[in-house]
């Protein structure tokens, strides 16, 4: 891509579907459905993550997410948040596939509540089963290049390492390992979790990630809609900087104005 080309020409694909936006946003923790929908709109995201939960049979007429964010316009990516075993995650995604009618899903199998770190043994096992059943799982994982490779070999359609614990907003704490995963992967790599503010998202993209997935950084901002705009700009800026190729760092100063012709 040259500077003349529009960033809209720079698409990425997962499981055979092509997307322009490299920002995936969650739909949790918002004050209202209206605010959530406005933030999704401002973010420019074409994919949103959603959770699968029991309907409230005591009050079946409660407003629903689908009334505010149209699954025909935005791709719903069902997740397995809250699942701590492969079996729970697989069961959840079988229901998600029936509810939504598509195979593209986000797998996360958590190891413990305190850190929400993924349990990679269960994650890999669930990936293998899901792929056999025809799912196309994008997989939340640790920032381990070997584990990432194993997930890819098992059929993960995207590798999604954490940059910091879910909901922590600590920023990308593992730039070296994220870069190693990006360099070794043949499927898209997205930082999933850890982003706190716009510069974190730009940093993830500068490392060569194909995209960034975030929820809390937008939902818990004082103005979520404004932060969604900031994240859109940051992801685009980081992507362009990665494509442009940054300058080499120097240990000392190097003047920008010519020394010749000094009076």
């Amino acid at each position: 891509m040259t500077a003349q080309q529009d960033i809209r020409a720079d698409t990425w694909a997962v499981a055979g579907r092509s997307f322009t936006s490299r920002l995936i946003v969650g739909t949790g923790k918002y004050k209202s459905f209206e605010e959530n929908a406005a933030a999704v709109e401002a973010s420019g995201a074409e994919i949103v993550t959603v959770a699968v939960r029991r309907v409230n049979i005591a009050d079946p007429n409660q407003p629903r997410l689908t009334d505010f964010i149209d699954p025909k316009k935005v791709t719903y990516l069902p997740n397995t948040a809250g699942c701590f075993t492969a079996e729970e995650a697989i069961r959840t995604l079988r229901l998600a596939r029936e509810a939504g009618g598509w195979n593209l899903v986000k797998l996360e199998v958590l190891g413990e509540a305190r850190t929400l770190y993924p349990d990679m043994r269960e994650t890999l096992r669930a990936t293998e089963v899901l792929v056999k059943e025809g799912f196309e799982p994008m997989v939340y994982c640790v920032d381990d290049p070997i584990a990432a490779k194993q997930l890819e070999e098992a059929g993960a359609v995207a590798i999604m390492p954490l940059g910091a614990p879910i909901g922590s907003g600590l920023g990308i704490q593992n730039r070296v390992t994220i870069r190693l995963i990006v360099e070794g992967a043949n499927v898209p790599v997205l930082v999933d979790a850890g982003v706190g503010t716009a510069s974190d998202a730009a940093q993830a993209m500068e490392l060569g990630c194909d995209g960034v997935l975030m929820n809390t950084a937008i939902a818990e901002a004082k103005d979520p809609v404004l932060m969604a705009r900031a994240m859109k700009a940051a992801v685009e800026a980081g992507r362009l900087a990665y494509l442009a190729g940054r300058m080499q760092k120097r240990r000392y100063a190097d003047p920008s104005s010519p020394l010749a012709g000094l009076i």
Partner: protein, 72 residues
Amino acid sequence: MTVATSLSIRVNGEQRQVPGGISIAEMLGELGLDERKVAVERNLAIVPRSTLGQVRVEDGDAFEIVHFVGGG
């Protein structure tokens, strides 16, 4: 087939009584749910949406009825 007895089932962990002989689609209707917007699991097995009108509710069935909600 006419079955006068009512069936004792569990829906999302709650005990419910439904008339005998009804289909899962009819049960969803009784619960006020739109079958196009939910997914149904019956005794741990997915019930494909296309068959909701044919599958009969049996006494002792355990259902999970889910939908998409906000999440990260």
